[in-house]
């Protein structure tokens, strides 16, 4: 079997991979509005635990695959103004909606009617972006456009050092969360 798969096979595998993704989101509890919003209020650290574990585990494996010639990186361009403004909006939207695009979609399947209302909002947001796309490209995305940079190139620290650092930080934070700071889950 030659990897990566392309064409029809790859397209239909998307359903399987998406299902694993959606299944894991629900089992992780992040299809629940309260869990996500309480992360931003530091009352529930489920989101942080899931994301940091995924980054460290995923990072080590994808780096190994890349170095073995089994995978390619897919780096998004560092358009500093666009990504900063976009992320700032995203944080506000995520608190009001209570979901991000992926968890919102998965939450609709759990019966969350307000997630469905917000999904309609996301489609409208997509329309608004498409309408303003040319303007944003011309006036925002070109400012601070540094290209497809990675942290190792920016800092001079090699990949493995970054991953070791992230793993170390995650281990200390998780240990503190599990032993010293019992999260308040009262409001879930």
């Amino acid at each position: 079997m030659n990897l990566p798969l392309t064409g029809e096979t790859a397209i239909w595998l998307a359903i399987l991979f998406g299902m694993i993704f959606g299944f894991l989101l629900h089992r992780g509890g992040v299809t629940n509005y309260n869990v996500i919003v309480n992360q931003f209020r530091f009352k529930d650290f489920t989101v942080l635990k899931i994301m940091f574990t995924a980054i460290v585990v995923g990072g080590v494996g994808v780096l190994a695959l890349k170095q073995g010639g089994w995978a390619q990186f897919h780096i998004k361009p560092a358009n500093m103004l666009g990504v900063t403004l976009g992320a700032a909006l995203f944080g506000v939207g995520m608190v009001l909606y209570g979901y991000c695009p992926g968890t919102g979609l998965a939450a609709v399947a759990t019966g969350s009617l307000h997630a469905l209302v917000g999904l309609a909002g996301m489609l409208v947001g997509g329309v608004l972006y498409a309408l303003s796309y040319s303007w944003v490209e011309a006036h925002i995305q070109k400012i601070g456009a540094l290209g497809k940079l990675r942290l190792p190139e920016v800092t001079g620290l090699p990949d493995w050092a970054w991953l070791a650092l992230l793993a170390g930080v995650a281990a200390v934070v998780f240990w503190l969360l599990e032993t010293r700071l019992r999260p308040q889950t009262r409001e879930q």
Binding site: I15, G59, V62, V83, G91
Partner: protein, 197 residues
């Protein structure tokens, strides 16, 4: 029969939660197991189909369907964004379908399906009004998607997939999004709730 959560002022403090709500909590796996699962899923997806994880690109292509009746087919076809990200039954679109179906499978297997008009944390702060919650969810959805497109990625594409590749843009996204969310959550929830008394 579908269980429905009936918002009542006292429902959140001390009362036992509804059977599907309890089932949802029982069905949860350790967040470390779920995170590791997402990490391993990334290995497989990168190696097998040479794709990163992502949601918002496909969702923004899907939005062109909503624009069709308002803008007309010609205007949609001419739009620079939808020319670049045209709606088609591609990998990204089927990944969206899979995400929905996978969550549904987990919900059904754990018997935790529950129609929720407004979540507990929101009701504790703003009371039982469904209209208020839906207005906020809609506005939040608009903002979250606009932000995701401007940043060229969301919590999946940047937060997990980009961060694990140590992309500069993704770490800027992750840290800025989190800081912005913390400030927003403080502004929205800092005052004592109406539902809590």
């Amino acid at each position: 029969m579908l269980p429905m959560n009936e918002p009542s002022p006292t429902s959140q403090t001390g009362n036992p939660c509804s059977p599907p709500e309890a089932a949802e909590k029982r069905a949860r796996w350790s967040p470390y197991v779920v995170g590791a699962g997402l990490g391993v899923l990334s290995w497989v997806v990168f190696a097998v189909v040479n794709q990163p994880l992502g949601i918002s690109t496909a969702l923004s292509s899907a939005s062109s369907v909503c624009a069709l009746p308002v803008m007309g087919a010609e205007a949609v076809a001419k739009n620079a964004y939808w020319t670049k990200h045209a709606l088609k039954l591609d990998y990204g679109m089927l990944f969206l379908a899979g995400t929905f179906l996978g969550s549904l499978a987990s919900v059904l297997a754990s018997r935790s399906f529950r129609l929720e008009k407004s979540p507990a944390v929101w009701r504790d702060r703003f009371g039982a009004s469904t209209a208020g919650r839906w207005a906020a969810a809609f506005a939040g959805g608009v903002i979250v998607m606009y932000g995701a497109r401007m940043a060229v990625g969301c919590t999946s594409g940047h937060g997990i997939s980009g961060s694990l590749q140590l992309a500069l843009s993704s770490w800027v996204f992750f840290l800025t999004m989190f800081a912005s969310g913390v400030v927003a959550a403080w502004l929205v929830f800092r005052r004592p709730g109406r539902g809590a008394h």
